[in-house]
């Protein structure tokens, strides 16, 4: 009997066109849009060499030394700072600057090198900092040679630029901004499971549909009926999530950092929570199905907003000022679980998130069963 209810419900759900659009097609479309919109996001932080020029005027020793330094930091390689062009005259350099081919140029015809730029910006600031550092080092060298020539041997240490801090990664995977949007998408699709829960319970409420009334008349307990329906809802929704994950990993080549089994576990926990949430909203509100759907959409969006999936940083504010709200927000728990998988090399926080999700699902399913068991109708 359970199998009959479960299998027919599953078939019915998989054939439902609106479900097909919203839980199968829509996430794939969103994933594709995210992919194209955020592909360049991770390359924003990468350094690009600065197009610059130096005017080859001034044959003094200082001018030649500066040009040599410039050429040395413009050599191709990991440490290349400038894409340097050498111009014969200032006019030629100004022409390049006007055409936007360079961000600035250095003149070496005066007593000390000077920088010419047309506007403010990051690259111009770097060029200015480079020049200032050069002049400072030059001054230091001259001072040392004049005042303490016996210390000249230690000049090498002045330019060694040794760093006493070391950058290490907390996890195997490099930090990336793009991945957060895909986490958000998966969390949103998990919460879309609430519509499965809503439909399952609505089809068991005599006051909402003739089908609900008809099923209430059968000799099957509501607990069995709702369990089979919700399980079918979870199955159908999990299938759509699997398709989404396969599309992200295999087609769009999104790197979730391996750990496929745990990604699936997170999706399943999120899916179960979403479905049971929809079931609870459906059973404890005395509204028509359209109104209940509106409630679900609003609550889902609110959860996603508070989880920082729309405005970055909101989740930290919520976690700081209303920690309970942060913990009971399923969207926050799903995304946090994904963050843990990607960035942490321990699983304590991850499994805590999964536990909280499953606990919420258990409480909501239990409440749904209690409400349904007591539900009788004054009118239908």
């Amino acid at each position: 009997m359970f199998w009959n209810i479960y299998s027919k419900r599953l078939i019915s759900t998989l054939r439902d066109k609106s479900t097909l659009v919203w839980t199968w097609v829509f996430p794939l479309v969103m994933a594709t849009l995210f992919y194209f919109a955020f592909t360049s996001l991770d390359s924003v932080d990468q350094f690009h060499t600065i197009p610059a020029a130096v005017v080859a005027e001034g044959g003094e020793q200082e001018a030649q030394a500066f040009r040599q330094v410039l050429e040395s930091v413009s050599e191709q390689g990991e440490d290349q700072l400038f894409s340097l062009q050498t111009t014969a005259s200032r006019e030629e350099a100004e022409q390049l600057l006007d055409q936007g081919k360079i961000d600035g140029f250095f003149m070496t015809d005066n007593q000390e090198p000077t920088l010419f730029v047309k506007k403010n910006g990051l690259n111009q600031t770097i060029m200015k900092a480079f020049l200032d550092q050069y002049l400072q080092d030059q001054e230091a060298v001259i001072t040392i040679i004049h005042e303490s020539p016996e210390q000249a041997g230690k000049l090498q240490t002045l330019f060694s630029r040794e760093s006493f801090t070391k950058e290490i990664s907390l996890a195997e995977n490099p930090p990336t901004n793009k991945i957060n949007y895909f986490y958000a998408l998966i969390a949103m699709v998990c919460l879309y499971g609430s519509f499965q829960g809503l439909t399952s319970v609505s089809c068991l409420q005599a006051n909402l549909s003739p089908l609900g009334a008809r099923r209430c008349l059968s000799p099957v307990s509501r607990f069995v009926m709702v369990s089979a329906d919700l399980l079918a809802g979870v199955t159908a929704h999990m299938l759509s999530l699997l398709v989404l994950l396969a599309y992200l990993i295999l087609v769009l080549n999104v790197n979730f950092g391996g750990k496929t089994a745990l990604i699936l576990l997170t999706s399943l926990a999120g899916c179960v929570t979403g479905v049971s949430f929809g079931a609870l909203v459906s059973v404890c509100t005395k509204m028509k199905e359209a109104a209940k759907t509106a409630v679900l959409v609003s609550v889902s969006l609110a959860c996603c907003f508070l989880a920082g999936l729309m405005v970055s940083g909101i989740n930290y504010t919520v976690a700081k000022n209303a920690p309970v709200l942060a913990w009971i927000n399923p969207a926050a728990r799903i995304t946090d679980a994904f963050y843990c998988l990607y960035y942490y090399d321990t699983y304590d926080q991850y499994f805590l998130n999964i536990l909280v999700l499953l606990l919420m699902a258990a409480v909501m399913t239990g409440l749904t069963a209690i409400f349904l068991r007591r539900q009788q109708y004054e009118s239908i």
Partner: protein, 309 residues
Amino acid sequence: MIQVKNLVKRYGNLLALDHFSLDVLDGEIFGLLGPNGSGKTTAINCMLSLLTYDKGEISLFGRPMSPTNYQNKQEIGVVMQNVAVFNELTVYENIDYFCGLYVPEKRRRRELVEQALDFAGLQEYRKFLPGKLSGGLLRRLNIACGVAHQPKLIFFDEPTVAVDPQSRNSILEGIRKLNQDGATIVYTSHYMEEVEQLCSRIMIMDHGKELNTGAPAELKSMIRGGEKVTVELPTLPPAVLENIRELEDVERADYNGLSLKAACRTGGHGLIQILDLLRKNHLGFGRVFSEPPTLNDVFLEITGRELRD
């Protein structure tokens, strides 16, 4: 089979069932006849424990009915007024689903589903989705889903609403067959012709109350009226109409500008008297109809208004 005693059901201030009582005997087709809003569906929903009620007792199969009395529910079939099927399941899958709620054994269920498909004439539509069926076929699917498990007691709540005459006859035939196979039927409708030809006993109800109960012939014998006469005629002077009303065997008469309608006394010669009077007054007339009293006349007699008002 069914015993309902002093059932009271209110929707806010509206009294939907007013000390409603009912006895349905084993093996009969019992008709609940009344206009829309008379309380037929409410009575059935209370009997099925779908609705709460304020007062009264309901027992089915000699056992009190409650939402968790699965023993009772196991033996009941319900064909609801609104079609209640899954739009995404085929005809076969829908019948199998609802039958499966009563019959867990798969092989037995397969037999029952095939029988239900035959019964409802849906064999050739077994792979169709409900959205592809006509209104009549959809109703037949609704019936097949309700009776596939071969219940002992079947409630039909206005199963022929919005159904074409051909499908209606097919549905009524099917109901008769179910009864012949041993099922007790409770049938509600506001179509008096259906109830009259189908039911062995009928309860006429209005405003949530029983007005009268009996076999169709018994109910018709309760009214004073005999045959109903309709005479088509283009004009009828008021004086002549008054003379017709004064005829010995005429109960009442009305003229609407096109035809004269008169209710005659039982056992009298109203039709002959009316036609004689018209001839004497040199009034030409067209077609003449005479029909025996119907349940509508019974309803009219009791309530002063027509069933379909």
